[in-house]
Amino acid sequence: MQAVQKYNAIMTGNEAVAFGAKLARVGFISAYPITPQTTIVEKLAEMVANREISAHYVEVESEHSAMAAVFASELVGVRSYTATSSHGLLYMHEMLHWTAGQRLPVVMSVVNRALGPPWNIWTEQTDSMNQKETGWLQVYCESNQEALDSILMGYKIAESPDVLLPLMSMEDAFILSHTSEPVILPDQDQVDSFLPPLNLSFRVDLKNPMGYGSYSTPDGPYMELRKDMMDSLRNSRKVISKVTKEFGETFGRNYSGLIEKFMMEDAEYAIIASGTLASTGKYVVSKLRQEGKKVGLIRVRFFRPFPDLEIAEAVTDLKGVGVIDRSTSYGSAGPTALEVRSALYGKSEIPVAAFIAGLGGRDVKVEDFEKMFQYVEQGKTGNFYINVKEAC
């Protein structure tokens, strides 16, 4: 599909999301540098300096402050953007809950990077997986184009009155963030008609002075407000499908909603993966298909809301499935595997193998995928670390 479209730029994932923010006409940006996110904020600073973007950019002194600043500006009704990675994202954690709890549709780019110690700047998803309970929507991108497009779709989804929750859009460190790919930069006019200006109904207003986030007793509205966040995340599924479809009709690039199915028709075995792991996975699936194996791949785009129904439906006719996590939940299994097992419980008896692969940026190779497919075909159900060196 993309082959027939005309690329008009070659850029890294970080440049692509900076252009995404620009095209989304964000009014306020606040951020703090961290490898490998830094080139996003540098690019935006350059755009501001050259008046290529009319946003106001504040370089704060920490990520906690970056999120607090965009929280406040969004509450005033200005579309706001930030970007971070790894330790910066963890440093924001308190403000992530606060921003979601205040129902502010901030959009943030996250470059997935490992956590120390020891320091490691390469890709891993534990940083954003640690934030899955914050009430933010999460989308994991596979290409620079998708990273750009997810900013545009992201604001539209997050700002929908049926959602009103923040969204973080992920790209893998270096594999996307620092790798140049052909990208189609959409027309500003087209983006403007797709994404109207923010109109936040409860923004700070002197004529109607309110308290934003004061406090609630156990019998106050607290529990209802929390349930409403859950309901909105559920509703966001419909909004995501609608917006993705509308995006496809407007721009000619079709993303398939919460999950993407690759060669899943008549498949007997499949692997579930997200981010750029899915790209290697697709290559291996094509290769195995040529060898006559009936295999497929499901790419998890949205992790929040989790596509439990979509995955349950996609695997109904399979004989086995494997789930790859590029992150860990110590003392348990990979976050995606846990979600998948929970999604299938009572609906499907197929064996689920859980793989942890590529931590700290370790390459996940074609042969690793082949091995994982072998495990799946053998009907294995345990938790496996892939490509771990023997203790030396």
Partner: protein
Amino acid sequence: MPLSIPKEEFMEPGHTACHGCGATLSMRYVLKGMGPNTVVSVPAACWAVIPGAIPNRTLDVPMVYTPFAATGAAITGLREAFNILGKEDYNVVGFAGDGGTADIGLQSLSGAMERGHNVFYIMYDNEAYMNTGVQRSGSTPYGAETTTTPVGKDRNFKRQRKKVVADLMMAQGVPYVATATIAYPEDLIRKITNAKNVKGPKFIQILSPCPVGWYYPSEKSVEISRLAVQSGVFPLFECIHGQLKVTRQSKPIRLSEYLSAQGRFSHMEEEDVRNVQEYIDERMNFLLELEQKSGK
């Protein structure tokens, strides 16, 4: 003499503060000085609770609540967003306790001041974490007993001197820095008015006595506030663009009068009081020297 305190109220009756709460008076006076075009941001602190539970409110201006460490950054975002919308005339006011200012919020405060946003940061200084039950903060003075500096057998009262954030702000070159307290509401409101005429960040530290944490009868807050100034414990000053003016004491009192009025100092022995007096003298000399230098 005409009344110099504006009649207009921006604080409604019915709030949930303790009797005699100094921080409540501080807010009332600050808003009288600010006027109606004001948005207040408060972090975790007594002032996050004083306005009452949802759906109640106490102020007639919008209040944005944030996590404990976020005040400096929150007023940054509010200020810039209002500017983007052409509302440069709004007063954006951070209103945080001493813990939220001297300790956990110092980084975001310092960042906001350094960046130079046109904001007010009011530190209401009740010299401990009061909302959580009187724990020591960096702004708790030498000698005070708190629940985390209990005197006990080891006489473990706070042994370190007060971290005076207003002094830090002067050192950082913040264009408007002042101290004030509720015993002198006209002075306090005049300082707000002066601050409004300064473009850029403004920092005012308001001593706000707390009967619950300082252990004195709740009707004495204003009196204690006055004694703090007269004894030299809390000097009043104003520093505009580096020009410092220290208020001279017309009726100085003995330090012991201030200390003995509060239970938190009741364990203090002569030597401890001498330590406090030494601190007072040192700090006053420091301020006067600074005043002299800044006058040149």
